[in-house]
Structures are given as C-alpha cells and as structure tokens.
C-alpha cells in the first residue's frame, strides 16, 4: 500500500488518548523547585526600586532574583528579519530600570511549591514613577510622543518600503481611486497548554538539561549557550509533548533564560509552568495592524496600483521575530493577483503592550483582510461580481513560476505553481455560488440580511534554509527517523513515518521518530511557517532513499541476486520470482555489525543523513467562501455555509491536511468574531482571563466543507508537497467581513475586526439609513 497519500491513523494518538503522554508540566525531577514570576502591573514606568527582602523570607522560598543578579546578560537576540535598528528595542530577561508592558518580568521567586512561590510574589515591593502610556499606535508615532525606548524616535523601531513598478504614476493614471483605512485587532494563538520549562544542572558533569523547548530547539539551544556563556555541548534541550504552538510557543522568551539560569545557580532542578493569567500577557501577541490603502483601478476592474501604508503594532519590546510581521504583510499582500505597481510602506511601531510575534499566517491574516475587502469594495462600485473581479486580476497559471517583485527572509517571492482561476471556479461550483447568490438576493429583497463573501489567498510555506534527517535501521530491524522538525501537535511523527515507510515498507507504528533533542539530533531548523512536511519530509525521503540503496546492495550480496530482481515487502527484501528467498531488515542490519561490516567491506550500521536545502518557498493557495445571515436586531451572525478550497500540491495524509484546515479555520473564526486583547488607556490588559478573551467552543464553530486539491504540485521538491498549516486561517476575517457587507447589499463598509455583534448591529443601522436615503 502506498503510504503517501493515505489517511492513516496517527502514531501519536495512542499515548495522548491514554493520558500517558508527558507534557512539560508532567515532568518531575528529584528535589525540583518551582518558580513564579513577578510581573509588572504598570504599562510604562521608571522602575526605581525592587524590594525582595520580605519575599526571600517567606516560608519555602529558596531564592528570589532580580535584574541585579543577571545584569551582564545580553538582550535576547532576533531569530528572523533582524534589522539593524531593531537592536535598540530588544528585551533582556528581567526589567532593569524601565517597565514597558503589563506582564514584563521583574523578579523570579523559586520555592518548594508553586503555591508558596505565589505567596511570596504578593510581598514583593516596587517603587515606580509612571510614564506616559501608549496603547494606540497612531498616537505613539506622533511627534513629541514619549519614546518607549531611548533613541527610538516616534516609537517607530523600523521602517522599510517594498515597491514594484511605479505606484505613484500608476495611481495618478488610474481611472479611479479607492482610499480606505483598515484595522485588525490584537489577538494571538492562545494554545490550550501554557508555556513551561524544567531545567536541571548536573554540576558534576557540567551538563544543563532543559525540557520544554520546541519549535526551533536548535536555534534556542545556541541562544541559551550564548546567553549563559556555556559551551553548546554543555546544554541539552529536550522537546517533550507540546500542547499546540501556532507560532507563539517555542520562541526564545525571557523565561527561557531565567529558568535554566536559576537551575544552574541553585544546583537544583527548577520548574516553571506559566499560568493562564500570565500567558495572556506574557506570550507573544500578534495581528494588530493599521492600514491606509490607496488602490487605483480601471473601469473594467483591473487593479493598476496598490499602495499600503502599514503600522504594524508591536509591543514594549522587539522579540525574536524582528521585523517578520510587517515583512510578511509586505511580501504577501499581493496574494494571487497580478499587481504590477505595488507598494507597502511598513512601520514597526512600539506601544506599551505585550510584545508581538508570529501567529498562524502572520501578517497574512491582516493582508488578506485588507486586500480582499478592497477588491469587494471596488467590485461593488463597478457593479461587478466579486468572483469576476478576482478572476480578472488573478495571475494566470501560464505565468508560473511567477516573480511578484517582493521578498522575505532574503529570498525573492516566486510563486512556484498554481492555477488560481481554476481553483476559484471549482470552489464556486462546489459552493453552488450562483444558486446561493440568487437566493441571497431574493431573501434580501424580502428584508433578510444574508450575503456571500469570498476570500482568495496564496500562502507561503516550506521556508528554508534546510532541514536535517537521519534514517537508521537498528540491529533489531527497527527504523528510527531523526528529524530537526518539532512536534507542536500537528502530526509530524506520522507524516515522517509515512514518507519513510513509503520507501522502506514497514508498519508505521513501529517507526520511532526522534526530534527536538539536541543531544541526539545534531542539526535542526525546526517547525514553523508550515515547513515541516516540505523540508523535513523531503530530508527524510532522501535519507530513506539512501538507506534503501544500502539495503538493496547488502541484500543483493546476501541473497546472491541482482539488485534489479529485488523487491520490498514489509520489513523484508525478497527476490522476485524466487520463492522463499527473502531477508529481513534485522538480518541485513546484523550484517553491518562492525566485525561483519569490516569483513564485507561496508560501513558499520545502516543509516543515512540528509540535509534538504531550500532556496525558495512553496506556495499553496486557497479560496474561502461564506454564506452568512445577520440578525438585524442583535448583530449576531450565523454561518450556514462555509467552504475552504485549498491546493496543497500533494497531501501526504489528506486527513491530517483537512484537520489543519478546519483547525486553522476555527482560529481564524475566533479572530474574525470573538478574540481580542483589549487594553484600557493606562495599558491594563482587560481581557486577562478566558471569561474575556473568548476562544470559540464547538458551539461557535460552524460546519465547514473542505475541498482539498492537488492540482499544482510544487516543482521544487521531489514529493511535490506544499505546507498546509495556515491556509484555514488567513482568509477567514476577509471572507466573513465581505459576506456581512454583501448581506447589507454593500451599503456598509466594514473596515475592522473583530466583527462583534455591536459592530455588525451598527452596520445594520447604517444600511437601514442608507436604504432610506436611496429612496
């Protein structure tokens, strides 16, 4: 049976279902202590004094540290898009003399239990002097606004411009102009498991072990070694079970330094498990953007110029993602459309809120919202069908591979393959677009507010620079796959097992996948940006193919046959046409035991390493279609019909791909309707619990139909695969906003998210007024 393309059940499931999978909070080490972090309750203040004497004297408290104890430590470095001017705003693990966001770590208490540590937090005293608080990026950049970081004028930490063609000329020449402003609210990943770490220092062997890192374990390993001034070989990071990542978990945070530092300082294991209140103000926020758009278009619906002025709202500091967020927006704003004159003038704006980082489809959720809304507004003005205007502006498939003129992560954006028009048509047909459009029209005439929205997008996946794999067959014949990828819950163990088993037939449940352990996996980039199936998968493929060649060569000798006559069955190599002539992987492995290998003149052991390099990303693409009904008396929205069409090039496990789409959709829905990190004017986080930060439950997530296609495999990797992690999320805000506007016959213009009932009710009023005026 072909393993690739089959929806096999996951090998990860058994342990997670039984409740025997070990997440970081389940790790116990002898003599382990517990840490709790004292965090700022002020959004912007001079920190004059921190008094931990009473805390140190509390029952069960073993230590309390402040900046004084770590004052020589360097700031946490950037991992991606590290622009020079962002260095001015990096974060050190504890606040020194300034507090810049509510939640910023000031001190760490280590005690016998978390309960006792939290008791000690309550008796830490600080003296502060309040400073002007910036929560709105538009006022933070006004001349004269108090800078959050010295030297960062107008709180603009970084600015860059991406331009293709000549936007000003094209705008001036255009038949017509759309000028509009948009806002996407602050929200983020909020995985169900909060962050956590266990660190233990073996003084005798000078070995620091850290459990809990994920996502980019090898990178973090290097950072920690540098910050602790230890040789990398003296640190072992071990990824354990992870309760969802979505971009925010696994980056190097202050705690990633503090907890190992404390373990080394105290010579006792230290565990820190973030609580939910902390998580909402300490883990990366995301998404918040202000856009000012100017779009030039022709009377026949072609976009001739697209100019975006972007304020990407960061936080009190710049973290590991550097300028990634606006870079993503700037690079992928064009989406599937041919924009010959395009510009994005992007700014990283500092405010007194939690720092921002990537979250599923970073920069692209906002880009899709802005772009797809703009297209709908223009279509409405021209009395064009929203599907028609998109078809008119798509990049034709004949132009693939297509260079958009933008770039990200030092690589130009070149779409590898894609037939956007074909996909949209397929999606419209599956959705029964014409029929439902007609129905909505009739219903609107009868007074109901029902409408359809479209959102098209191109996703970016499979980023480089490379990924590592090693495939090994041990003496028992078991296949082991070592990968630089990380498991954030997405099923990478299963996918890698499928890929390897496709080349080396075996029961995938028997394959052991090892990842995230820096002592055992020598190289790794990690799992983010939907890259693992593409890059880790192809690395595993290559290594497996190499192992296959080794097995065949050994078997040819052992079975005295030509390689061409050999075939694979589960765990065996057989000679075609010669019954009874077979040899198992275990027997083949035994032949390579060192003494035997020497005699045979082969290398000891059966294994192969591979590094799969990528210079270019690969670009899956999709369409979201929604039919919504608005309750015109309350503003509540129902979504009776939602379709996501997604072309992933090739699906290793279609069931897992669909799971990513639907899961991504639920997060997109949360972002479109429910979730927001709301702040008051003094910089206090108002949504600091799950009563106020609203995650969708199963009662809020409607049915979604997924149309998965493999029309455009990527020519850039042997598997032809593209990543599937983010396509369910990025277009939800755009699509629902478009649908709501359509429900009101385009008489309202929705320019911000989330679509709260109050916002939508306001739109209903606006529509009613506009209708009255039309009469």
């Amino acid at each position: 049976m072909a393993m690739i393309g089959t929806s096999v059940r996951r090998v990860e499931d058994n342990r997670r279902l039984r409740g025997i999978a070990r997440y970081v909070a389940d790790i116990e080490r002898p003599g382990m202590l517990h840490a709790a972090i004292f965090r700022s309750q002020h959004a912007h203040a001079r920190l004059i004094r921190v008094d931990v004497a009473r805390a140190r004297a509390m029952p069960g408290v073993v230590a309390v540290i402040t900046f004084e104890d770590i004052k020589t430590v360097k700031p946490i470095p950037m991992r991606l898009e590290p622009s020079e001017d962002l260095y001015r705003a990096l974060q050190r693990p504890l606040a020194n003399d300034r507090l810049r966001y509510v939640g910023e770590p000031i001190a760490v208490v280590v005690a016998d239990t978390r309960y006792l540590a939290e008791d000690a937090l309550e008796v830490i005293d600080i003296e502060i002097e309040e400073l002007e608080v910036h929560v709105d990026a538009r006022s933070a950049i006004k001349p004269g606004a108090e800078p959050i970081h010295p030297g960062v004028a107008r709180n603009i930490a970084h600015r860059f411009v991406v331009e293709t063609g000549n936007v000003e000329h094209a705008l001036a020449d255009a038949d017509a102009l759309l000028e509009e402003e948009f806002y996407i609210q602050r929200h983020s990943a909020v995985p169900l498991e909060t962050r956590g770490l266990v660190a233990e220092y073996d003084e005798g062997r000078k070995l620091l072990t850290v459990w809990g890192p994920t996502k980019v374990v090898h990178f973090n390993h290097g950072v920690l070694a540098s910050l602790l001034d230890m040789p990398p070989s003296g640190i072992r990071m071990i990824e354990v079970e992870v309760g969802g990542g979505f971009g925010v978990r696994g980056e190097f945070y202050p705690e990633d330094y503090l907890i190992p530092f404390l373990a080394r300082m105290l010579r006792r294991p230290v565990r820190w498990i973030e609580d939910r209140n902390e998580h909402l103000k300490a883990a990366n926020h995301s998404r918040e953007q202000w856009h000012r758009l100017r779009v030039g278009y022709s009377q026949d619906g072609r976009i001739v110029a697209f100019d975006d002025h972007l304020l990407n709202v960061m936080g009190g500091y710049i973290r590991t993602h550097g300028a990634t967020l606006p870079t993503m927006t700037a690079a992928y704003m064009p989406g599937p459309y041919k924009l010959d004159n395009y510009r994005c003038d992007a700014h990283c704006v500092l405010v007194n809120k939690t720092p921002a980082g990537t979250y599923r489809g970073p920069g692209r959720f906002g880009a899709s919202f802005v772009r797809e809304r703009a297209l709908d507004i223009i279509a409405r003005r021209l009395r064009m069908d929203p599907a028609e205007i998109r078809l008119r502006n798509f990049i034709p498939s004949e132009l693939m591979p297509y260079t958009t003129g933008t770039s990200a992560f030092d690589t130009p954006t070149v779409y590898d393959s894609g037939d956007y028009a074909k996909q949209l048509k397929q999606a419209l047909e599956k959705f029964e677009y014409d029929k439902h459009k007609h129905w909505c029209s009739e219903q609107r005439r009868a007074g109901r507010a029902v409408g359809i929205g479209i959102g098209c997008f191109v996703e970016k996946t499979g980023g480089g620079p490379w990924e590592y794999a090693r495939v090994e067959i041990d003496l028992s014949g078991e296949i082991i796959v070592y990968s630089g990828a990380a498991d954030v819950g997405q099923g990478i163990e299963t996918v890698l097992s499928q890929i390897v088993a496709d080349t080396l037939p075996t029961d995938i449940e028997s394959i052991r996948v090892v990842h995230g352990d820096t002592a055992v996996v020598p190289f790794g980039v990690g799992s983010f940006g939907s890259r693992s199936t593409v890059v880790a998968g192809n690395a595993a493929l290559r290594a497996a193919q190499d192992v296959k060649d080794q097995l065949l060569a050994l078997a040819a000798t052992a079975l005295q046959a030509d390689i061409g006559d050999l075939g694979f069955e589960n765990n065996h190599i057989v000679v075609r046409g010669r019954i009874g002539s077979a040899i198992s992987y275990a027997e083949l492995a035994a032949l390579t035991e060192p003494s035997s290998a020497r005699a045979l003149g082969v290398k000891p052991g059966i294994s192969a390493e591979a590094i799969f390099h990528v210079d270019r990303m690969v670009f899956p693409y999709g369409v979201h279609l929604a039919l919504v009904e608005v309750d015109q008396k309350t503003g509540f929205i129902k979504i009776p019909k939602y379709l996501i069409a997604f072309d992933v090039g090739r699906a290793v496990n279609p069931m897992l791909v669909k799971g990513q789409i639907v899961g991504g959709f639920a997060q997109g829905l949360g972002g479109a309707l429910l979730e927001e990190f709301a702040y008051d004017s003094s910089g206090q986080l108002l949504s600091g619990s799950f009563m106020d930060y609203l995650l969708p439950s199963c009662a809020e997530v409607p049915e979604v139909e997924v149309l998965l296609t493999e029309d455009a495999p990527s020519p850039l990797n042997p598997l032809g695969v593209k990543g599937a992690g983010e396509g369910g999320t990025v277009a939800v805000g755009a699509t629902l906003a478009n649908a709501v506007c359509d429900a009101f016959d385009g008489l309202v213009n929705i320019r911000q998210l989330p679509l709260t009932p109050e916002l939508v009710l306001g739109a209903a009023h606006e529509a009613r007024k506009a209708r009255a005026e039309l009469r």
Partner: protein, 291 residues
C-alpha cells in the same frame, strides 16, 4: 494561579455551619459549588481566611413541593434542577434557564444557593427566581429571615445576607394554572454570562388577553430588574405583536445598562428590546395563541 491559604471546615449539620459562620465572622466564606468562588481565589481576588464547606450538609439538598409551592435546598446542584421532573412540569422556567447556565461540567457542581448568593449581575438564576416571585430563606444561628427576590439582591455581587447568615432555601410559590414561561439571552458564546437576558411568565385568557405577566431582565443593571411598567402594559390587553413590541420598548426604555468589554450600554439597551420581544412572543405562542 494558586489560591491563598485558608482554614478548612466541613460541618455536617446546618447548625454547626451557622455556628462557625457566627464565630469566624467576616473572615469566613461559605463554600457551596465553588464554581464562582474558587476562580476568584485562584486569581487571588478573594482571600477568605476560612472556608466553610457546605457540601457535606445533606439537609440542605432537597427539592420538595409544600402546599403547592416549590422548596429547593440551597445546596441543590444546577444539574438536579435541570433534570427535575417536578420542576419541569410546574415551574418550567427554571428548567429552561438552566440550559443557559454555563456548561454541563459547571452545572454538576454549581448550586442554586451559591449562584444566587454570588449575585452576578448577568447571571440567569436571579432573573428566573425574580420572575417566579421567589423568596429566599436566610438563616443565622439566632434567626430566620425570608426575603423577596427583589430585596435580596442589592447590587453587583452583593446580597442582603449578613456575614453570619446562610441562604438555606429558595421558595417558589405556586403559579396560577396555565401559565407559560420562556427565557432567552444574548451571549458572545454559548454558556457565557448574559449580555442581556429576559425571563417571562405569562398567562392569557380565552380572549387572548394577558391575565398574568412577569418579566425580568438580567445583564442590564447591578441586579436583575423587574419590568413592571412592561407588565402593566400587557395586563388586560390582547396579545398581539404590536402589544408585545410596545411592552418590549417600555422594558428597554428606562434601562441604564453598564458598558463593558463585551457590549456598550446603548447596545444592551437596544438588544434588550429585541430579546424581550422574542421571549414574550415565545411565551405567548406556548399559550396556543397565534401571533
């Protein structure tokens, strides 16, 4: 988010609980279902020095009908009320409201006494008890008081119970035969506190005229509100969509709801009218009247 320390007491009789309450004074809090109190303790917003666990007092857990009226012990779980046949048959408003109270996992521990004593301004139960003209029995070591629902809830999270008093019983009088009840609320997600909730108990005569009307709202003020002017507007009048719309307008008109993260005051006022209209329409439809 670990709670602060406290002394734990688990009396098995009501008398013992009341004695402890008196002795320990305002430093002590009763612990019923814990679904409201424990989160506050985990957030360290509440720091009771003593907790008096009521869960072992079997005598506080009963559902009885006495002289046609309903008596519910304060420690009766939401789940029990939700599944009680007696209540569904004779006081269906309570059964219906329960579907909106949080989630199944909360309802298995949460109690009616705990919820009412917590007095969240957007909770459903106070509005239901109010619409049913319920009475609350408060007991201390020395005395027993009975308060009408309207007098029990003073302001947000504040009731008339003294620190040495325990809510021990909720009494719901017998309703006139042939009433219908309905409840609905708007909330951001299923199970969340109400942005606005409306409870209605009505009865119409053979001519379709209202002979009984109770309308209460939650989420629109510090405590639940009784919409007396709306009730007066209905009584004696024929149930028509126009009348219901008028009564709903009246119910909403005087409101001065709070603004918070989830809804502004003006939004609440506006949707209160819509929800009242829907609830009244549904209650009337149950009367067999075609609107």
């Amino acid at each position: 988010m670990k709670p602060p320390s406290f002394e734990y007491h688990a009396p098995s009789t009501l008398r013992e609980a009341l004695r402890l309450l008196r002795e320990l004074g305002p430093d002590a809090k009763p612990l019923a279902g814990g679904q409201s109190l424990v989160p506050m303790m985990n957030f360290r917003i509440a720091h009771p020095r003593h907790l008096i666990d009521l869960n072992q007092i079997a005598a506080l857990s009963y559902i009885r009908v006495e002289d046609g009226g309903l008596c519910i012990g304060a420690m009766v779980r939401h789940r029990e009320i939700e599944h009680s046949q007696i209540i569904r048959q004779h006081w269906p408003l309570l059964s219906e409201v329960m579907k909106h109270v949080a989630h199944v996992q909360i309802r298995s521990r949460g109690t009616i006494g705990g919820s009412l004593s917590h007095a969240d301004p957007a909770a459903e139960l106070p509005a239901a008890v109010g619409a049913l003209d319920g009475e609350l029995v408060l007991q201390s070591e020395s005395a027993t008081r009975i308060l009408r629902a309207g007098d029990f809830f003073l302001s947000a999270l504040t009731t008339a119970a003294q620190s040495d008093e325990l809510l021990v019983e909720i009494r719901i009088p017998k309703l006139p035969a042939g009433t219908s009840a309905a409840f609905d609320e708007l909330s951001r997600r299923r199970g969340d506190f109400a942005i606005v909730g409306v409870a209605a108990v009505v009865k119409c005569d053979h001519a379709g005229k209202f002979v009984f009307a109770r309308v209460t709202l939650t989420g629109v003020d510090e405590t639940f509100l009784r919409a007396r002017r709306a009730e007066d507007c209905l009584l004696g009048q024929e149930a028509t969509p126009a009348l219901i719309a008028q009564a709903s307008r009246i119910a909403a008109a005087d409101l001065n709801p709070p603004s918070d993260l989830h809804a502004s005051s003006s939004y609440r006022r506006e949707v209160a009218e819509a929800v009242a209209e829907r609830v009244l329409s549904r209650a009337v439809a149950q009367q067999g009247i075609a609107l």
